[in-house]
């Protein structure tokens, strides 16, 4: 049976209704069906690996929705469907206490089809339609979250609509010029678009940055990711913000390089593809994301800011323009999709058993939830770019490119982001999983099997892509070769050759493995740890009523990075400026309402008199 994107989307839209009805009947059954559907997606995309599959959905009239799966979008489709599958698997048990599970699954399937539709689009109209589908479906999904989720969803909607409207304008600009929405036609005519190329670039890249959560338009991420339903956060951060990276990739790399390749240019170098301003925006995003993440006390908001920082890496890599940088940027999409999924899923698992994402209130969960802990640990090691995990590979490629071009400022920022990420991702590790277990969690257990399995898949993939990076890099290198971008060479499963040096990840992994075993042996031989009850060590176990202390404030995770925060707390928050702007607009609208509509008949008389006077003035 031949799968096409079109047929997958068809089946998705039919199944969405079936799954809705099934979930009304039984939550578990509905989620299992969703998982099977997304599993089918993963399988279908996997077997489309080496083919070019063109398909369409016929809309009566002039426009058809056209889809394509080929080497240029295959990596995006693959990682997208994997994250969808994993989070659906997680939801089999994860939706147990969820109030609107039926709508959740229904909308999840719509989001799933929109992932296929956006990454698999062969024309801008299709891309735009599925982009908007994703917007309204995820708006409702986010609305299902915590108490503040409603206003967060509206903010998300507002920002998404800005990016959608930038896109729709750009879309018709191209259409007017080349008479088609098709990506191929646009790529082939890219050179003739010189008079509108600047505008197109600004419109689409800005739209991509908004969606991708890059500074200075990242402000929606904190509240949206922080308040969305836990399972959906992983899809939102893992895949949906990658829509933005995809658009940036199309306009920064794909169109220009494809055009030059068809014109017979044999090597498309960085001088054609690099966009310094965009690269610096990516770098600022790394800084801001990292510094803001350190200040968060909420598990999920922390991960949200880490997404800002990692979106920065992706943009920096893509916009820097050399083969190695683009490879690093695009593979970082894979890395971050997996690690974001891993972190948000472990946050969801913690929430599932504790009912909170506030890090102050947790601790010591490692003994209760080893799988969740491992998932989180692997994800953060990958996020921090520490070998031998996938995150190291992509960041290493970006460092290589930056150093090879001698751009030390960007290199410094990229390193800073890595070290910084270690600071902030360590905080949940220490405060949620390590340390003392509060008594209220004495009876918690590890999460059910489906959640464990889905977290394990993410963990294993992160390790596999780290130790054998060719699985992740080969598909992207294929893109670069097809676009005549000079790229790095890869041998076997793990040997990477760049301009500067050579790296065998398998060897690195073995060395790390030996080190790990050695330290473990030492730990068990030498360590003589004492188990201390949480309330034993402070104030000798006494609660001092006179100064109204409570046990909680003595928890060591309280104000974990207070000293660090003190250094950076003077820094203004961009969110605050957005809020002030919104308040002013809102007040202006109030004034309009007050003057025009709330006033009574006497005011109308004034209006009408003024109208007549104006008319008279025009006439005479």
């Amino acid at each position: 049976m031949a799968f096409t994107i079109g047929s997958l989307i068809y089946s998705g839209s039919i199944f969405s209704v079936i799954i809705y009805l099934l979930t009304r009947f039984s939550v578990k059954l509905g989620s299992i069906f969703t998982t099977v559907l997304f599993g089918l997606y993963v399988y279908a995309i996997y077997i489309l690996k080496d083919s070019v599959s063109i398909s369409f959905i016929h809309l009566p009239g002039a426009y058809n929705l056209t889809f394509k799966a080929d080497l240029f979008n295959w990596p995006f489709l693959m990682i997208g469907t994997i994250v969808l599958f994993v989070s659906a698997l997680f939801s089999i048990h994860g939706l147990k206490s969820f109030k609107s599970a039926a709508s959740f699954n229904f909308l999840s399937v719509l989001v799933g089809t929109s992932v296929l539709g956006v990454f698999g689009a062969n024309d801008l109209l299709t891309l735009f339609i599925f982009w908007e589908l994703m917007t309204w479906a995820s708006f409702f999904l986010v609305s299902m979250g915590k108490k503040e989720a409603r206003s967060a969803a509206l903010f998300f909607l507002f920002m998404s609509m800005i990016s959608a409207y930038l896109m729709i304008y750009g879309m018709f600009l191209v259409y007017n010029k080349v008479g088609s929405f098709s990506l191929d036609v646009i790529a082939n005519n890219w050179g003739d678009l010189s008079d509108i190329r600047g505008r197109l670039f600004v419109l689409f890249v800005l739209a991509g940055l908004i969606k991708g959560g890059v500074w200075p338009v990242h402000v929606w991420l904190r509240t949206t990711h922080g308040n969305a339903p836990n399972i959906f956060s992983s899809v939102l951060s893992g895949i949906l913000i990658k829509f933005g990276s995809f658009i940036v990739y199309l306009f920064v790399v794909f169109f220009p390089a494809f055009y030059l390749t068809t014109k017979g240019v044999s090597s498309v170098g960085a001088e054609k593809l690099s966009h310094p301003i965009l690269a610096y925006i990516g770098a600022i995003s790394i800084m801001i994301g990292t510094l803001s993440a350190i200040r968060q006390n909420d598990f999920k908001k922390l991960i949200a800011f880490s997404s800002v920082s990692h979106a920065g890496y992706i943009v920096l890599g893509i916009a820097f323009g050399t083969g190695s940088a683009i490879l690093g940027g695009l593979s970082h999409i894979w890395v971050h999709a997996l690690t974001a999924a891993g972190m948000f899923l472990s946050a969801a698992a913690v929430y599932y058993v504790t009912g909170t994402t506030n890090m102050d209130e947790m601790g010591g969960l490692v003994r209760k939830m080893p799988i969740t802990f491992t998932t989180y640990l692997v994800a953060i090691i990958s996020v921090a770019g520490i070998p031998p995990l996938a995150g190291f590979v992509s960041k290493w490629l970006i460092y290589q490119a930056l150093i090879a071009k001698g751009n030390y400022l960007l290199t410094f920022i990229a390193f800073f982001g890595s070290v910084g990420s270690f600071l902030y991702v360590f905080r949940p590790l220490a405060t949620v999983f390590l340390g003392q277990l509060p008594h209220k969690y004495d009876s918690v257990k590890e999460v059910p099997w489906s959640m464990q399995l889905s977290m394990l898949i993410v963990t294993i993939l992160t390790i596999v892509f780290g130790v054998f990076p060719s699985f992740m890099l080969k598909p992207i290198i294929r893109i670069e070769e097809a676009l005549s971008i000079p790229t790095v060479k890869i041998e076997g499963y793990s040997n990477i050759y760049t301009m500067l040096t050579q790296l065998d990840m398998f060897l690195v992994a073995i060395i790390f493995g030996i080190g790990f075993i050695f330290v473990t042996i030492l730990f068990f031989l030498l360590a003589k740890s004492t188990k201390v009850e949480q309330y034993e060590q402070y104030t000798a176990g006494e609660i001092v009523q006179e100064i109204s202390t409570t046990p909680e404030i003595y928890h060591y995770s309280k104000n974990y990075y207070r000293s660090f925060e003190r250094v950076i707390e003077w820094a203004p928050s961009l969110e605050e400026y957005y809020r002030i702007a919104a308040r002013h607009i809102s007040r202006f609208y109030d004034i309009l309402d007050g003057i025009i509509f709330k006033s009574g008949i006497p005011m109308y008389v004034w209006f009408i008199t003024i109208t007549i006077l104006v008319l008279l003035l025009i006439r005479w």
Binding site: L59, G61, F139, Y165, S586, F588, Y589, I596
Partner: protein, 479 residues
């Protein structure tokens, strides 16, 4: 016989007259007569629609020449709109009959509805200025009655004041043009020598005065201040009439005036009406954004849509008729009235419109809330629903004509529109309940009404070009 659209106007008027005539003897069942009237006008307009082509056909009345006498005009666009408007009126009357019959005197309000149908049909069909004025006045009378359906007398009073002033403005315009050309026929005025010799400034004032004259009925700035309070204070069936029936009459009358009289490239005049429309669009969306009452909010949204449509039409006659801009405006009109009717019916079925009361009612009335959400998503222009395609065609025609200022104003206001519309759905579906509300159990008929409208929206959402090519892409060019 059925081919002559005059029955669409005459029949409701005759039925209305006889209803009053028999009222001393029959005490109940007037709403059935109203439903019956709307059903017949829907069937008649469908017959007219099936016999229509793209050419504008004139139907003289009383055997007079169309140059001097009274006549009606119709083509596939006009008859298509009539089918839609009469059908929505039919649905509203069914709703009125099962739920709101006892709100006021059944006789009085049934007559008000019948009268409004006659007036709207007349306004859409008429081909001469004097009858247009008559139907505007008739429409106002229908409007006054409907505005008081739930006892909102002060808001009805606002409507009375504003629309009578509008009528006066319109009449001044009619008299001026009659003085100059000696004609009242929409099709013949632009052909006369004297009209061609008129100074540009006269045409500007004439067109602006007409648009202002009709701004009461069509909910345009500046005579639209009644909208919010009337929408809030009247019954569901009446508010559906205002949003999806009466306003269509007003808007289409302006469209006729602009595209029949000023269609030969009077570049000087388009700018004023275009600006008026854009101001209306912006103010409407801005004010709707601030509302805390769903019906009021939708009222201001109607204002904004009227502004958008009139701006597009004004722009389309800038030089000779630009069919892309024109048809996107008509498409927007159609999608807007269907979706708005759906949302307003949905709110009516729920029974509340204040945001604090609406919170969380979707949990108890899930089906109604979901159907209503189809309406809000369509109004917000989301893909999969009809509204997406009208937004699509509007942006397409604006970009291809290089109207970037318009585009920016449109998209900027649309941002807020999407925000407040989806916020309404969010409040209904996801907010936790705050106040105790007592909900009636909806009858099957109400579900049928909502489902029908939702099905139309989804149908257009997936097959946009059926409606677009058939009805919208037809210019009103006088033959």
């Amino acid at each position: 016989m059925v081919k002559n659209p005059v029955l669409l106007i005459a029949l409701p008027l005759i039925i209305g007259f006889f209803t009053a005539f028999i009222s001393p003897f029959i005490k109940k069942g007037y709403s059935i007569i109203a439903i019956f009237t709307a059903a017949i006008t829907t069937i008649l307009s469908s017959l007219l629609f099936s016999n229509s082509g793209t050419d504008l056909i004139t139907y003289p009345i009383g055997g007079w020449s169309t140059k001097y006498g009274i006549y009606l005009i119709s083509n596939i666009q006009i008859s298509g709109l009539l089918v839609l408007v009469n059908f929505i009126a039919f649905l509203a009357l069914i709703y009125y009959s099962i739920k709101e019959r006892d709100l006021g005197s059944e006789l009085g309000y049934s007559l008000g509805f019948i009268l409004s149908i006659a007036a709207v049909n007349g306004l859409i069909l008429t081909g001469d200025l004097f009858n247009m004025f008559v139907f505007i006045e008739l429409l106002s009378i229908g409007g006054y009655i409907l505005a008081t359906h739930k006892g909102g007398y002060y808001s009805a009073f606002k409507y009375v004041v504003l629309s009578s002033i509008g009528g006066l403005f319109f009449l001044i315009g009619v008299i001026s043009i009659y003085n100059v050309t000696g004609l009242l026929s929409l099709l013949y005025i632009p052909k006369t020598e004297s009209f061609h010799n008129l100074p540009a400034i006269f045409l500007i004032v004439l067109s602006v005065i007409w648009v202002i004259g009709l701004s009461g009925e069509s909910e345009l700035f500046p005579l639209n201040m009644w909208v919010g309070s009337v929408y809030k204070n009247t019954s569901t069936s009446a508010v559906v009439f205002f949003a999806s029936v009466l306003s269509v009459g007003g808007i289409y009358a302006i469209i006729k005036l602009l595209s029949l009289i000023f269609n030969n490239g009077y570049a000087a005049i388009y700018r004023y009406i275009y600006a008026l429309g854009l101001i209306t669009l912006f103010i409407g969306e801005a004010v709707a954004f601030k509302q805390k009452d769903a019906k009021k909010m939708l009222g201001y949204s109607s204002i904004a849509q009227a502004g958008l449509i009139i701006s597009l039409v004004a722009l389309s006659i800038k030089s000779s008729l630009n069919i892309d801009l024109y048809s996107s405006a008509i498409f927007q009109l159609i999608n807007n009235i269907i979706a708005k009717a759906l949302v307003l019916f949905g709110l009516g079925v729920i029974g509340y419109s204040g945001f604090n009361k609406l919170k969380g009612v979707g949990k108890e009335r899930r089906e109604v809330a979901l159907l209503l959400t189809i309406g809000t998503l369509s109004l917000a222009g989301m893909p999969g629903f009809a509204g997406f395609w009208s937004k699509f065609y509007i942006v397409k025609s604006l970009v291809s004509n290089g109207e970037i200022v318009f585009l920016v104003v449109f998209l900027f206001s649309a941002l807020f529109e999407v925000y407040y519309l989806l916020r309404l759905s969010q409040i209904i579906l996801f907010e936790p309940q705050e106040e105790e509300v007592s909900l009636e159990i909806p009858s099957i008929v109400e579900y049928v009404i909502l489902t029908m409208l939702a099905a139309v929206i989804l149908y257009i959402g997936f097959y946009p070009n059926v409606i677009y090519n058939l009805i919208c892409k037809v210019g009103l060019i006088g033959g």
